[in-house]
Subunit: 459 residues, 2 copies
C-alpha cells in the first residue's frame, strides 16, 4: 500500500498489519530499540518505524543504511512519542536495495548549489519533495481549470521554420553533421540537405498556432516546453522552461484580465487544497508568510491600471530610482516591486507604449499605446503577459512593415484576419515563474527537475 | 454565452433571447427565409439560425459569407424541421469579420491531402473539430488518471547531452551559426563555443530522468513532446510527437501490465463519456464499428502471452507470411494484426529475445529473454512498450559493456541502482498512436495539429 493512504486515514488501519515499500530517510539507533524515518514518496510526511530487541532481526535492522530501499511488515499503532499520531511497530524488514555510506544525500542541511549538482538525487529531499509535488499539482490545476471551462488543449509544434520571435533568440535544430556541413556555391550552409529541407528552430512560443485554433474552437490553451537562447545567468532565466498560452476568440482586454484573475485564483486554491503539507513546509523553511500571501491573493480583487498611471505613481514616489520611470519605457524590476507593494497585491498594468511591445498587439485609438497587459505579483514580478491581438489585416500589415517583420513565414497567420477574423486576446504565463510564486523558492533552477542554463546541460 | 451551454440544456433557454458569437459554417438562402449553420467551436454540434424577410436586415443577412464571424441575437425556439430539437430565430446579426468567396474551406468534402496543406484552417472542419477535441480530452484523461492514482507529473528535460538512444536518431540543437561553425585545430566543429559548451540534442525519451524521480516519488509520469530524425514517410511516423512515460518503483512486469490495462480502459471510458458526438461522428465517417471496438475494450480482459508462445501460434497458423516468424526476431506488422485478430482484443506480449530490445531491460533468469512487454491493439499495432528495468548495478554494467553503451553520460543513471535501488518498471505510450486508435484516423499527420515529417515543416 501507499503511505499516503495511511496518512489519509490511519484509524482505518489501527492495530492491523500493513506492508510498505520505500526508503530510509533517517535512522536513529539506540541500545534496545531504534527509529526509522521512512518515506515512499507518495506523500510529504514520513512514517516512523519503531523496532526493538525483541525482534530476531534486531541486529540486521540496526545496521540498515540511510537511503536504502526496504520492504516493511508491521502493525499500525498509536504513537506514544510526540511529532506523530501513529507509527509502525516493525515485525519484519527486508532490505531491497542497499545504499553505501558515501551516499550524497544525508539527513542534514545541504546547500542549494550542492543539491543542484546532485539533480538526480535531490527529489529525495524534503524541499524538492515539496517543490516537485507542487509543480505536478499546479500543472493539474491548470489543465483542470481550462478543461472545466471548455477550453481545448492544443499541442502547438515545437519545431518551426517561423522565426518571428527573432531567430537570434531561438535554438537551431538540425540533422546535419557539424563537422561536415554541406555548402552552397556561395560557401554558405546548404540547408536544403537538412531533414526539413530548410533551416528549422525550436520554438519560443505557441501563440501564432494557438490563434489558428482559437479561430476554430473559440477557447484554447497550450501547455508545453519553450526555449530561449539567452545567455543570462540570472535567478529567473533558463534556456528551457514550460509555458501556458491561452487564446480566446471574442474576448477583449478586459475579458482577458477576468480570465487571468480567475485562473490564477483557481490554481492557488487548488494547490492550497491539495498540497497542504508542502505549502506548510515552504511557509516554514522557504518564505515566511507564503501561505498568508497565497490565501490573501485568492480573496483579493486585482488592481487594473494603465502604464501611464503607473508611471505617474512612480514619479510621485519619494524614491531614488536606478532607472528613471518614463511614459515611453518599460518598467524595471524596482518599479514592479514598488507598485505591487504600493497596491499590496497583484496589479494588471495595461495600455503600454507600442514601441516596447510586440508587433501583433492591437493598436489603441490613441495611436501610441497597445492593448497589452502585464500582471505583476509580489515576489515574482511579471507573472503573465498578454494582449488583445490586432484583428485588422490592414493595420497588422502596416505595423509589420513599420517593424520590418518578414511577411512570408506568417502569411497564414495574417490570413486568420481575412477568413472570419474577430476580436481575440491571449496571454502567456511562464510555469516556472508561477512556481517561484507558489513555493517561495527564489531560483528558477530549483523549480525545474533538470535545469538547462548557459554552460549547464548535465544529466 | 457558449453554444455548448445551449446543447447541454436548451430547455432552460426556450423562448428566451440569447447572444452568441461564432462562425458561419453553411448558409442556405431561399427567397423569403434562410438558414445559417452556426458554430462557435465550443461543442461539436452546429446551431441552426433561422431568419426571414420580416427582418429589416433580411438582405444584409442573406449576403453573409461562409466562414465569416458574426454576433447573433435571437430567440431559442423548438425546431419545426428535422435534424435538430431547437433552433435560433434571429432578431439581429452583426458581421464581425468577413470571409471572401475564395475561402478554402467550403461546406463540401475536401481531400485529406488538401486539408493537410491548409493545416491552419482545417480545425474548422467537422473531422478536425472531432479529432482535436478528442486529442484534448484524451490528454486530460491521462492527467486525470495518473493524478487520481497519486502519480507525480515530471517535466523531464528536452535538451539533453545524453545520446543513449543513439545520437543518429536525435536532432542536434545549437546556437552556432551554420555558415560559420568554429573549428578545432583538427578541423572539426568546436562545440565548446556552443551555449552549453558541448554537443546537445533534443530528446527521444524522458525515461532515464523519469527513473530518477520514481526513486523519490514511487509513481511518476511524463507527458511531453519527443523527437526522432527518422526519414520515414509512412502513415505512422512523425519527427515530432507526444509521449507518456510512467515509471513505477516496486512494480514488476505483472504490476506494470495491470497499470497499463487500467489506464487504457480509463482513458477510453473518459473519451466515450466526454466526446459522445465526436466518437459518433468518427464511427459514422472514419471507422465503422469504432464505438463498438472501444466499448468492447473497456469490458475486456487483456490477453497476456510470451513472445515465444506468440511465435508458436504464428508458426501454426495456415498463413503465408511476408516475414517468417521466429523465436529470435521482432514480430512484424502482419503478425501484430494476426495475433490481435486471433485473440479478438488487446494482447500483452511479454519476455522478448534480449537481442532485439534495449540495454536497460531486466534480463530474465533464462539469460535469453528480457522482462519487456508490448501491448498490441487492433488497428493501431503496438500501442505501448514497457519493461521491468535492470535493477542490478553489476548486471546493467555488464549488459552495457556487451552492447558498447558509453557509461560516461549515464553514470548517474547507473548510480540509481547503487543508492537504494529497487525493482521498478515503466512504459511509453505514443500519444498519437493512442489517438489513431481512439478516432480511427489512419494517418498520424491527421491527429497532430501541425505535423512535422521529412521535408514538411510549414506553418
Amino acid at each position: 500500500m501507499d503511505v499516503k493512504e495511511l496518512f489519509f486515514d490511519y484509524k482505518k488501519y489501527l492495530d492491523q498489519d500493513v506492508k510498505l515499500e520505500g526508503w530510509i530517510r533517517n535512522h536513529r539507533k539506540q541500545k534496545e530499540f531504534g527509529f526509522i524515518e521512512f518515506s515512499d514518496g507518495t506523500c510529504f510526511s514520513h512514517v516512523q518505524l519503531v523496532y526493538d530487541d525483541s525482534l530476531e532481526q534486531f541486529d540486521y535492522i540496526s545496521k540498515l543504511h540511510i537511503g536504502s530501499s526496504i520492504e516493511v511488515l508491521g502493525t499500525v499503532v498509536l504513537s506514544s512519542g510526540s511529532g506523530q499520531e501513529f507509527e509502525i511497530k516493525v515485525k519484519q524488514i527486508k532490505l531491497l536495495g542497499d545504499c553505501p555510506m558515501d551516499y550524497p544525500i544525508q539527513p542534514k542541511r545541504h546547500s542549494m548549489e550542492f543539491l543542484r549538482e546532485q539533480a538526480y538525487l535531490r527529489p529525495r529531499t524534503n524541499l524538492f519533495q515539496a517543490v516537485f509535488r507542487i509543480r505536478s499539482v499546479a500543472a493539474m490545476a491548470i489543465h483542470s481549470y481550462f478543461q472545466g471551462q471548455g477550453y481545448v488543449y492544443v499541442h502547438t509544434p515545437l519545431i518551426t521554420t517561423t522565426d518571428c520571435e527573432g531567430s537570434d533568440q531561438m535554438f537551431k535544430i538540425t540533422t546535419l553533421d557539424f563537422d561536415n556541413i554541406p555548402k552552397t556555391k556561395e560557401g554558405l550552409a546548404d540547408m536544403s540537405y537538412d531533414l526539413f529541407g530548410k533551416k528549422a528552430y525550436v520554438t519560443g512560443t505557441g501563440q501564432l498556432h494557438g490563434e489558428a485554433f482559437a479561430m476554430a474552437f473559440k477557447k484554447i490553451y497550450t501547455f508545453g516546453p519553450t526555449f530561449r537562447t539567452e545567455k543570462s545567468n540570472t535567478k529567473t532565466h533558463a534556456n528551457e522552461f514550460w509555458m501556458i498560452e491561452p487564446e480566446i476568440a471574442f474576448a477583449d482586454l478586459n475579458k482577458l484580465m477576468d480570465i487571468e484573475e480567475e485562473m490564477l485564483k483557481y490554481i492557488v486554491n487548488y494547490v492550497l487544497d491539495n498540497c497542504k503539507d508542502e505549502i506548510d513546509f515552504c511557509d516554514k523553511f522557504v518564505e515566511h508568510g507564503l501561505k498568508e500571501k497565497l490565501t490573501k491573493l485568492v480573496n483579493s480583487k486585482f488592481v487594473r491600471i494603465t502604464h501611464h498611471d503607473v508611471v505617474d505613481i512612480l514619479l510621485k514616489a519619494n524614491n531614488k530610482w536606478e532607472f528613471e520611470p518614463s511614459y515611453e519605457s518599460d518598467i524595471a524590476k524596482e518599479h514592479e516591486k514598488y507598485i505591487t507593494e504600493y497596491f499590496d497585491g497583484p496589479v494588471f498594468i495595461t495600455d503600454w507604449p507600442k514601441d516596447i511591445k510586440a508587433w501583433y498587439m492591437k493598436l489603441n485609438d490613441d495611436g501610441k499605446t497597445v492593448a497589452a497587459v502585464d500582471l505583476e505579483v509580489l515576489g515574482a514580478g511579471e507573472l503573465m503577459g498578454g494582449s488583445q491581438r490586432e484583428e485588422s489585416y490592414e493595420k497588422l500589415k502596416e505595423r509589420m512593415k513599420e517593424l520590418k517583420v518578414d511577411e512570408d513565414p506568417v502569411k497564414w497567420f495574417m490570413n486568420l484576419r481575412r477568413y472570419g477574423g474577430c476580436v481575440h486576446s491571449g496571454f502567456g504565463m511562464g510555469f516556472e515563474r508561477l512556481l517561484i510564486y507558489l513555493t517561495g523558492v527564489e531560483n528558477i533552477r530549483d523549480v525545474i527537475p533538470f535545469a538547462r542554463t548557459p554552460g549547464n546541460c548535465d544529466y
